[in-house]
């Protein structure tokens, strides 16, 4: 075999054994050891888009990928520029990032933390990605965030709603634009009070895994603060598809509100089952029985169909918002793909822009420089009003939308209507809030 020849010839020719490092860049020049992981030395910079392409959240992942491609197009100066025109920072010039053309690689998280980490590792080790972003569940986001911390690249979280992502599992290299469970509770509570009063008995059905637990804790605390009574909190297996045996006892428990701390397929099924049981037609304790879904997404609403009508929940962003930034984004996304973007698409688009902008402002791709540029950064013009990237936990604080399933949708995308925009101040909490306590950011890791 000629393999030994290759080695020998190679050694003779270059004599090069490059320094130690976790990563190997796409375009590796024989220059000195890099200052940080995957320092881009050529004319381009590679970003890693790690989204669920298979599994139950594949459609959400596909929408995220569309938004990423749009963001890359805009960053490289293509298209109509989207929210780059409305963004308060004007550092981005449409010539890539720091003059380097933006390239990207994609991977499949399968909504499994193992697979997501494997995919992220291949982006870092094989493709030389300098930033990883994406994800459609909190377990995956936390797992990949941990990996990026260790590898020394920035992680810009996609759709992850668990308090833990910027709570007890926060990391110095990780940043979240999306809102969280606490914010959902804080935003929903006043609306629920107006709609349903202060004398209510809530029954919680909660998906039995990390996100469900933090969501349940947040919404229960927020509603109890209103004076609501929590009748029961019942955990349902993640793999459950038929929720009848969990929903049937609800009415008999004296509860008059059902809170479904479910996401994705779980939510579609539990809500469908609840409506089937006719819960919404019942009168308990002299009041109409109500259902609340703390975290809404358009894809879930689509899956549950007519069952969402009149049901309240919260969301990070909605395409029907009428501010300039949202309109610009909807226009540019809608023109390219023919339908309006989802909240997942919105958040990942923002994250990409925010990362690029931070790199421009910091003048480097070094994760520590970027982290510094993002920490405490205040901006607007990305569809959520004035926003703060808080330094203490790398969480964005911005307005949260309370939405309701629309009674008379005009198209297959027109499923939710915005009921209220809860201002950022109302959903802000102290960094050491007990629901977020227990973790440490650590220090930023540039790798290498």
């Amino acid at each position: 075999m000629s393999k030994t020849d290759v080695t020998r010839r190679g050694v003779l020719k270059t004599g090069a054994i490059a320094g130690a490092g976790v990563a190997l860049p796409t375009i590796f020049t024989a220059s000195s050891a890099a200052a940080y992981t995957n320092e881009p030395t050529g004319a381009s910079v590679t970003l890693g888009f790690n989204v669920p392409q298979t599994g139950p959240y594949a459609d959400e992942g596909a929408d995220e990928l569309r938004a990423y491609q749009l963001a890359v197009e805009h960053l490289n100066g293509g298209g109509d520029g989207g929210m780059m025109n409305t963004f308060s920072s004007k550092a981005l010039k449409g010539n890539g990032i720091l003059g380097k053309k933006v390239e990207f690689v994609t991977g499949d998280t399968q909504t499994k933390s193992d697979a997501a980490r494997a995919s992220a590792k291949s982006m870092i080790e094989k493709d030389g990605a300098v930033m990883i972003t994406g994800g459609s569940s909190s377990g995956v986001a936390i797992a990949v965030q941990g990996l990026c911390q260790e590898a020394g690249v920035i992680f810009m979280a996609g759709l992850t709603h668990s308090n833990d992502t910027t709570g007890k599992d926060k990391k110095a290299n990780g940043f979240r634009h999306f809102f969280n469970g606490y914010m959902s509770g804080a935003a929903l509570a006043p609306v629920l009070k107006n709609l349903y009063g202060t004398d209510r008995n809530a029954y919680h059905l909660t998906a039995d895994y990390t996100w469900g637990w933090t969501q349940e804790e947040s919404i229960a605390a927020a509603t109890e603060a209103l004076g609501w009574n929590t009748v029961n909190k019942v955990r349902t297996p993640l793999a459950a598809t038929d929720f009848s045996s969990y929903i049937a006892p609800v009415l008999n428990s004296g509860a008059d509100v059902l809170v479904l701390n479910h996401y994705g397929g779980n939510m579609v099924n539990s809500l469908t089952n609840a409506v089937q049981f006719g819960l919404r037609d019942k009168v308990v304790n002299g009041k109409n029985f109500e259902i609340v879904v703390p975290l809404y997404s358009r894809l879930m609403a689509k899956g549950a169909g007519a069952n969402v009508k009149g049901i309240h929940g919260s969301t990070n962003w909605h395409w029907s918002l009428q501010d300039d930034a949202s309109k610009a984004f909807v226009k540019s996304f809608g023109t390219k793909y023919g339908f309006p973007p989802s909240q997942a698409a919105h958040t990942v688009y923002c994250q990409t822009l925010l990362y690029a902008d931070a790199a421009e402002r910091a003048g480097t791709f070094n994760p520590c420089g970027i982290a510094e540029a993002l920490e405490g950064y205040e901006f607007e013009g990305l569809g959520n009003g004035p926003t703060l990237y808080r330094a203490e936990d790398h969480q964005c604080f911005k307005d949260v939308l309370v939405v309701r399933g629309k009674e008379n949708p005009t198209s297959e995308f027109d499923l939710l209507e915005v009921v209220e925009v809860t201002p950022a101040a109302q959903v802000t909490y102290a960094p050491d809030h007990p629901m977020f306590a227990g973790g440490q950011l650590g220090s930023c890791n540039p790798g290498a």
């Binding site: 349902t236 579609v268 005009t410």
Partner: protein, 343 residues
């Protein structure tokens, strides 16, 4: 007491789905001796027959409505289903509303055809192969089928509601003298249970009282001897495969309103239905039905708060726990025959 009655009702309903899938699996196993891991996929395809029919009914033409705007600010394209323009809005809406029950008729030829193609095209080449190979090739097929469905329909669940008249629930509690709302039960689930009972009854009657069924039963007991009698047992078995596919498909069609169909619903049911078959005893039709209902009821009981507070997480493992206990105490499941699938 009312809580227990309630969970028995729930269990019967869960059990109906398990029993129907397990029944089809057992028909295939009992007649052809093939372990069909693609059976869950057939259930899923059944549910997508309902989705497809609904889509067909909803096929629309578009008219521009300048008074309304779409999300980009252009005039809104209003969609009108053809059925509404052909039969008038009311009749059209009713047809769409009834798409799930109508899909029963729609799905039977489709499922029979799929079953026939599967058996002639793939399964028959695996009669002589080890059970492990049968499991694996059908598992591969299940992946391929579900990925095709995903490529066509996407990964998101698709709502397929039951007809308007079956929405809401019936209050058994009042009837039995309990408080109102103590035992409520959705109409559609009652329909599902009744439907399952009819299908199960029909399959048993078919096997019991028709000549075809008698031959098949004889073939299940001793294939070679029946073959020696000059009866073409293979052709009958092919038909049986089609029937089993149709049973799975019908179970899927009727299940669509209970849970919005998605491409992986077959895999979600696959392992459970296998456990049901094995607990019932490989190759035993009554065993499969009995085990289906039994596990459904046990699962419903395990999800009761009173039970969960004593044994946290019991609802997560109850089916497997029961399966282990039954297999250990009754080596061939509840009603299994000796020597089946033990090597």
């Amino acid at each position: 007491m009312d809580a227990i009655l309630l969970q028995i009702l729930n269990g019967l309903d869960k059990g109906s789905a398990y029993a129907l899938i397990a029944l089809g699996l057992t028909l295939i196993f009992g007649t052809l001796g093939v372990v069909n891991f693609a059976h869950g996929a057939l259930f899923m395809i059944g549910a997508f027959c309902a989705v497809t029919l609904q889509r067909i009914f909803k096929l629309s033409f578009e008219t521009l409505d300048p008074t309304q705007k779409d999300f980009l600010g252009n005039p809104l394209k209003v969609k009108t289903p053809y059925v509404e323009s052909w039969f008038g809005p009311e009749m059209g809406a009713a047809i769409i509303d009834w798409s799930v029950p109508l899909a029963i008729l729609f799905s039977i030829p489709i499922m029979l055809a799929i079953g026939y193609i599967m058996e002639r095209g793939l399964i028959k080449h695996f009669y002589k192969r080890p059970h492990a190979d049968q499991i694996l090739v059908t598992f591969g097929l299940a992946i391929v089928l579900q990925e095709i469905i995903k490529a066509v329909y996407g990964a998101n669940p698709i709502p397929t509601p039951a007809p308007e008249v079956f929405r809401g629930s019936f209050d058994f509690g009042v009837m039995l003298g309990f408080d109102p709302n103590a035992i409520i039960y959705p109409y559609w689930r009652m329909v599902y249970f009744a439907f399952a009972a009819v299908i199960i009854g029909a399959v048993f009657a078919f096997l019991q009282f028709t000549t075809f069924g008698m031959v098949v039963r004889a073939g299940m007991a001793d294939r070679e001897t029946v073959g020696l009698l000059g009866i073409n047992i293979d052709r009958r078995f092919t038909i049986m495969f089609g029937i089993a596919a149709a049973v799975a498909g019908l179970a899927g069609v009727m299940y669509a309103p209970i849970n919005s169909p998605n491409y992986h619903m077959g895999m979600d049911f696959l392992v459970l239905s296998f456990v049901v078959v094995v607990v019932g005893g490989m190759g035993s039709l009554p065993g499969a039905v009995l085990a289906g209902f039994m596990l459904g009821i046990l699962e419903a009981f395990a999800s009761m708060n009173e039970v969960k507070s004593i044994l946290p997480g019991i609802d997560q493992i109850i089916i497997y726990l029961v399966a282990i206990i039954i297999i250990l105490t009754r080596p061939r499941g509840l009603m299994g025959r000796k020597g089946v699938m033990e090597d």
